[in-house]
Symmetry: C2
Subunit: 387 residues, 2 copies
């Protein structure tokens, strides 16, 4: 069992990573992340609850299906309701009534992706400035942007991001970083990376002044440049972070991502947990678990659910197809989720056709339970050295 | 205890109305309606689940809060998924997985309200033909209308409505009736009433050929004309219906409705349950319980919930108001609903502001639980002769 450092020589008791098994077949590993709000078995899937709820569910439902880690977005919580209010409520766990672990990001990703658009937007030339939010100025200090909610100017810096994340009080927090656009010259990428490292260091320093029983994961950047990725690992692993997230652009294809992760993961310390930011579609998880990724967050299963895509062991099915109108079986035989336990494909198909909100929660709870089960299966297979 | 007749001399064992207490102070009464899917304590509120679900909830949640009767709309179920499919699923209870009693209407109300608009639409001159559905022809046979879903022509007759309701298999069904517009000359109203009586009789005959453990409530019509209301009661109470619903236009104001109900209720048999169709706002319930109404259906509490109106003992509150942003109490102190048990006003306010679907289900489950509790309070007060 490895204990993470808070400061040199000072053992943390509230956060540790326990390595249970390392596969003989790959770099895949099974572990346990101990947090103030309980254990996260790894590898695991992290549900995205941007505004403090997974869309269409409530947090007691998440608890009941055993979803161990939930991702909330600091950017959104800053703008609504404001992190002050969450602090007054006693922190995010109390405000949203979640008893299990939470991770928050720095807000940087959202600010920059609103400015540049997502990588996918960029590749598809869908333009920028979604939702009307925009970056006004990037300086060494931080980023000045306009709130998409009320048009007010907001300055986000490493210190203000950490202040916000202290208000939120998640178990795992993320330093402030820059998300450079996918199409960027190497010089500009290098400059961005250097600044990100300075911002992450400032974030860590701000955090360590008041650890508040939170753990901080660094975010490895460097885009699709292998040398810069290596440099990022080298610099960040020198700092007393509690874990390491992999962020930034990872290329256009799953092959590119696989290559980058294969290069990056071995450069991260084995005794600390790692996280793959914003990627959690099924093929990516399948290819990344053998590389040693511990946790994945993604809105894929929940967003897919709201569009009628239900995950099953036989692959995703589109519940809106007419073939399900008279299928009175459950989504997946043997599935113990509340949707499968009570309702048929035909009924859920009907709810989608009738545009009833109820279908969203049934589909979402099924897909998340599927992810919980899938990750449990991966852990079992790793322990049996099958992965 | 009164037993309803199925045919003369043939006692029904699957449906009966049990009168528990008649108030000494008013015509209010406490009773129990026994159905194949359990008891409905009266007076009670009936939740509207148009498409086989209360919007934003699932049927296990309804069960858990003790909602004893749910109203599904035959018109909607005919067009989507089609009552054939529901029959194949084993009926509505099986299809939507509801273990407690269900009532369905005839489809007539929707067909005509799509043609004429609702009374409220009419009074506000909002015009007709909402959603693009329209009545093509009304004959003695029935109504030919165009489906708002696919533009196909559908003929709804007393016999086809009952056929559909046999497919659905609710505990309580409603004969096919005409909903005349509010602004109608007396002659036309009288003609409509006569036809409605013929249609209701045909519906009853169709039903009694195959009772299928269903009970049928007549629908008293006559609009705002006291003499026609009396005539309707006289004619319908001669027929072996199992209960009596009051339908049609009941005037522009609550006073008009009160006058009409005061006149109508004493003309209905005491040994059978009655129902007030489509009216269940709080002031109307408060004024109608003393008149002896047993059940009320209304989409008010659920629709209000989706607009952020939460019902409390101190009156409705608008959760979207900024005063709730930092109110960390539950919606109502002591309320045992899932929303109050877990979440604060501030969090639900936040979910509304962030436009999260989750707020809809929390608000809806609270409002319905409020109605369950309210009706229980009324029953208690009647038993103590306070109403």
């Amino acid at each position: 069992m490895f204990y993470s450092f808070c400061k040199v020589g000072q053992y943390m008791t509230y956060f540790k990573f326990e390595l249970i098994h390392r596969s003989k077949k790959s770099r895949a590993r099974v572990g346990r992340i101990h947090t103030p709000h309980g254990i996260i078995d790894t590898p695991n899937f992290v549900a995205v609850g941007t505004n403090g709820t997974v869309k269409a569910l409530n947090n007691t439902m998440l608890h009941d299906i055993g979803l161990q880690l939930m991702f909330c977005n600091t950017y959104h919580m800053m703008l609504q309701p404001g992190t002050d209010i969450v602090r007054q409520a006693g922190g995010l766990h109390s405000f949203i009534q979640r008893k299990l672990p939470i991770i928050t990001d720095s807000g940087g990703f959202q600010v920059f992706s609103l400015a540049y658009g997502s990588v996918a937007d960029e590749l598809k030339s869908r333009g920028t400035k979604k939702q009307g939010g925009c970056v006004l100025k990037i300086t060494e200090e931080g980023v000045l942007f306009r709130s998409y909610r009320d048009g007010s100017k907001v300055l986000l810096t490493p210190e203000s991001s950490i202040k916000a994340q202290k208000d939120l009080g998640a178990d795992i927090i993320i330093p402030f970083d820059e998300l450079p656009p996918y199409h960027i010259a190497r010089d500009a990428l290098k400059k961005s990376l250097d600044r990100t490292h300075r911002w992450e260091k400032r974030s860590l320093e701000a955090h360590l002044k008041n650890p508040q029983e939170q753990a901080m994961y660094a975010v490895v950047h460097g885009g699709i440049d292998p040398d810069l990725r290596k440099e990022s690992c080298a610099i960040l692993t020198e700092l007393p972070f509690d874990g390491f997230a992999v962020g930034g652009s990872m290329g256009k294809t799953k092959d590119e991502m696989h290559t980058l992760l294969s290069l990056t993961l071995p450069l991260l310390p084995e005794d600390k947990p790692n996280h793959l930011l914003g990627i959690g579609d099924l093929p990516s998880i399948e290819r990344s678990v053998p590389l040693g990724i511990d946790t994945f967050d993604s809105s894929y299963p929940t967003r897919a659910a709201r569009h009628g895509i239900l995950l099953t062991k036989q692959g995703p099915l589109n519940i809106t197809k007419s073939e399900y109108a008279t299928n009175f079986n459950s989504i997946e035989k043997g599935c113990l989720c509340p949707a499968c336990h009570h309702f048929s494909l035909a009924y859920i198909h009907h709810l989608f056709k009738a545009r009833e909100l109820t279908c969203m929660s049934l589909a979402t709870v099924h897909n998340l339970y599927f992810m919980v089960q899938l990750m449990e299966k991966y852990r079992k297979q790793i322990q049996e050295d099958l992965i």
